[in-house]
């Protein structure tokens, strides 16, 4: 496998292009089906509120997948991801309207290693809150 992005073209501090991704109720229904995560907090407002949540919230893994797009579109080949980990720090609240919510993702190169890998720290925000923290990836570049 080979990334389009080359190890030699990256420096510590290089920023990944920031992107904003929409999240609507339909996205959550589709993600539930594709992933097998049918927890009702992700599609049933009545249930979500009954367990103390403000509204339906996105699957954390949907947010993690959107954040990965910033990484894999930057490298060119998703196959170069060696490690990827996140902590979910706040829910992405998805209202029942046509706009839904937005997740804004950015990233920065934190380390460049001699073995051809690069460490990236990602950030993700929604509705003014940091929804991911310690979002870290290690990618192997050509």
């Amino acid at each position: 496998m080979s990334s389009r992005l080359r190890h030699a073209d990256v420096e510590v501090g290089t920023e990944l292009p920031e992107r904003t991704f929409p999240v609507r109720r339909l996205d959550l229904v589709r993600y539930a089906g594709a992933s097998g995560d049918f927890n009702p907090i992700h599609w049933n407002e009545r249930f979500a509120k009954s367990v103390g949540l403000p509204d339906v919230i996105a699957h954390g893994m949907f947010t993690m997948a959107e954040a990965a797009r910033v990484l894999t579109d930057w490298t060119g080949d998703p196959g170069c991801v060696v490690d990827y980990s996140v902590r979910f720090s706040a829910p992405v609240v998805v209202p029942d309207d046509d706009e839904g919510a937005e997740i804004t993702v950015g990233g920065k190169v934190k380390a460049k290693n001699d073995d051809g890998t690069v460490a990236v720290l990602l950030t993700a925000r929604s509705g003014g809150a940091k929804v991911l923290v310690q979002a870290k990836a290690l990618v192997r570049l050509a």
Binding site: R30, V51, M61, A65, A68, P78, S85, R87
Partner: protein, 147 residues
């Protein structure tokens, strides 16, 4: 309700192998709105050096979810699923998953602890190819929110 600490280290082998198919990869990529051609176009995947279309980085959560569901289904573990939210998630890859992979998965409970009125359950799933090669290890921490 407390999580039973005796379950630390318990293993849950998947009851059957998981076959990675082009159709499931396409469905997952479409569900995360990711148009990268290596997920759906064999020629693009081969040009990038892969034997077939590959799966998005978070795809193996399907195996992790299945393993955690096996664990949580045991009432003696003591997890109230209605109070579960996702705390953290990690993937460590030897190589990407590709269509045609036949994976065996084993999920193990690697952490049980209490923190600030919540209970934290960590489950690690190791997926291995049919030739015995390690493919990916994924770990999820679930937060069972206190009443």
């Amino acid at each position: 309700m407390a999580i039973n600490p005796d379950y630390l280290g318990r293993e849950y082998p998947a009851p059957e192998v998981y076959e990675v198919t082009r159709g499931k990869i396409r469905e997952f990529a479409e569900a995360v709105n990711d148009p990268n051609p290596v997920y759906v176009d064999r020629a693009a995947a081969k040009a990038a050096g892969h034997p077939d279309v590959i799966a998005p980085p978070t795809f193996p959560v399907i195996l992790g979810m299945a393993g955690s569901a096996q664990a949580i289904a045991d009432p003696a573990l003591g997890v109230d699923f209605s109070r579960v939210v996702h705390g953290d998630q990690s993937f460590h890859y030897t190589r990407p998953l590709h269509a045609g992979d036949v994976l065996s998965a084993v999920t193990r409970i690697t952490g049980i602890k209490s923190l600030g009125g919540n209970e934290l359950l960590t489950l690690e799933t190791v997926a291995t190819a049919d030739d015995g090669e390690h493919v990916v290890t994924t770990s999820m921490m679930l937060v069972v929110r206190g009443e």
